[in-house]
Amino acid sequence: MKIENNQSRIIKDTIGKILLYLASALSVMTLVVIIGFVFVKGLPGINIDFLTRQWQAKTTFINVELKNTEDTNLSDSYIASLGAHVEQNEDGYIAVTKLEKDSVLKDSKNLKGAAYEVKVDDVITKVLATDTKNITLEELNKQFNDAAMNGETLKLKVTRPGGGIKPMVVSTLYIILLSLAIAAPIGILSALFLTEYAKRGKILVVIQFAIQMLAGIPSIIYGLFGMLVFVQMLKMQYSILAGALTLSILLLPTIISTTSEALKAIPKGYRESSLGLGATKLQTNFKIVLPNALPGILVAIILSIGRIVGESAALIWTAGTIAQIPSSLTGNTASAATLTTKLYQLLKEEGDVASACSIAVVIIVLIWVLNLLSKWITRRFTVKN
């Protein structure tokens, strides 16, 4: 009887152990598969061009003022004398490979007369009326030289290649800075109020309830709210400001609760000694309490950055999905896609899984670095205390 009991116990224990290992293996496997999928699909698309170029190719007609119009012996190397080095690219067009510092191409103007700086990588697709496809360099030099002899300003059609994520990176950065500029002070001061000033009572209960509610509301509801209030009622249109305002509400619970934890962890003695030495409560808070809570506040900010980088539902209907670097806070030119919203749009509307995964690789690396950073800060400062 006793032996049987023991046997069934051993069997049960083994089953339990197997289940534990299986479940853990499954959890880790999903991560490996997801990361593997994203990297396998996305890594081939990542290179310097992908990280630094604009998203959309942009074509501009420009006028170049040619300076050395009298020099006619340069027909073979005329372009070089302008301070530019060119080469035929894969499509047969002429790409600028190198520009001297004082190249006249850098002082070109577009048709409206505004300055347009030709940059390395730009492709010259037309000289005057001649298409440059499959043109030889000699012919091109001749074209330039002829134009110069006639004393004309040279009309070029220049295409700046796209396919890069620069605008999304910049927009993400803008939105991070804007949201934090709004949410961080409010969140930190709220935490200060909740831990240092508020007495137990109705106000405290109401505020804490509100924060818990905010933390639970799904981001699509924030998106609805932001669209109704900021985009439509306050007439900000799809803009980074509308997006940042929506996000800053969404970030408040994270910032407040993380900062509160940090404030609560500061020993009471610190405050008492400061107050005992005659400092006011305000001085104590700003000179003793907040500096000591700095690591916690930093962690709160890093967590918020992670949240902003990953957010999509609250941003699509407030900041829009246009891949451009916003040039204002509100209005027509302020709509901007972050990395994540662009990734969504690529998947859903264009079905472009490869580019989407390339962006996903960038995002995952970013999140991973943020994770490491917050852990490093926590470890470093908790050991010290």
């Binding site: 853990s24 959890s27 999928f37 509100a210 639970g216 990734l343 995002i363």
Partner: protein, 292 residues
Amino acid sequence: MKTTKIREKIIETLFLICALISVISVVAIIAFVFSKGLKPFFGENAYSFTDFITGVHWNPENNQYGVFYMIAGSVFATAGAILVGVPIGLLTAVFIAEVAPKSIVNIIKPAIELLAGIPSVIYGAFGMGIILPIIQKISPQPQGQSLLAVICVLTIMILPTIITLSESALRAVPNSYSEASLGLGASKMQTIFCSVVPAAKSGILSATVLGIGRAIGETMAVMMIAGNAIGGIPTSIWDKVRPLTVNISMEMGYASGRHQEMLFATGVVLFVFIMFVNITVMRITRKAGEKN
């Protein structure tokens, strides 16, 4: 002396105002979403609320707005994710907290944390790239978008929440519990499943409820794989679904007038669900707090 006192008072009020911004935000969100979302059911030309809440067809062009099948979709998807995700997550948490050697914990934990930080659209990409093709192969229906796909992705998405919260609940159980159990001759597994896990019950429960909240509110990942049916309660896991969140996000971009108000009404339904979940979480945590 007096001026400092006044200054302190002013600053304190300023802090209070900052703290009240959270309250104002919640009130504003509720007020705006509800006022816009409840508008179509009142006044002239009102849409019947019963038709809205029990209808199983969504066809804005024919003035047909039924959300019952979306509620069903949301509930089924969430229930499925919880049924699969909680056992796996809990077992993983037990493994991390009680069984695994430190070297393995040091690998698994960062992995879980990374999983928690990955944005939902990337889970959507994963669903589109891996899960949909697999389901398409084995499904009796022509498309891969289905309730099953949603359940798979949501399960993966709630795992980190369940694992981290359950793990900290398990770690909070005093050592004396397992020592007493082991001392009475129970095996390691018996100790874990009969003594430690039951003691961490309330933490695990609140992890589950938070998982429900996350699953029901998830939008972007689900939108890419749900199939977004225009009507009909899902009857099998191969059917297309259209959870509440998806309905809002799908049509928000171009909706106007009554149609837009109905999307806000969908938001109200979602909000009521979430509120219910939130209040349950608060109750559980408060109860646990009282016990200690």
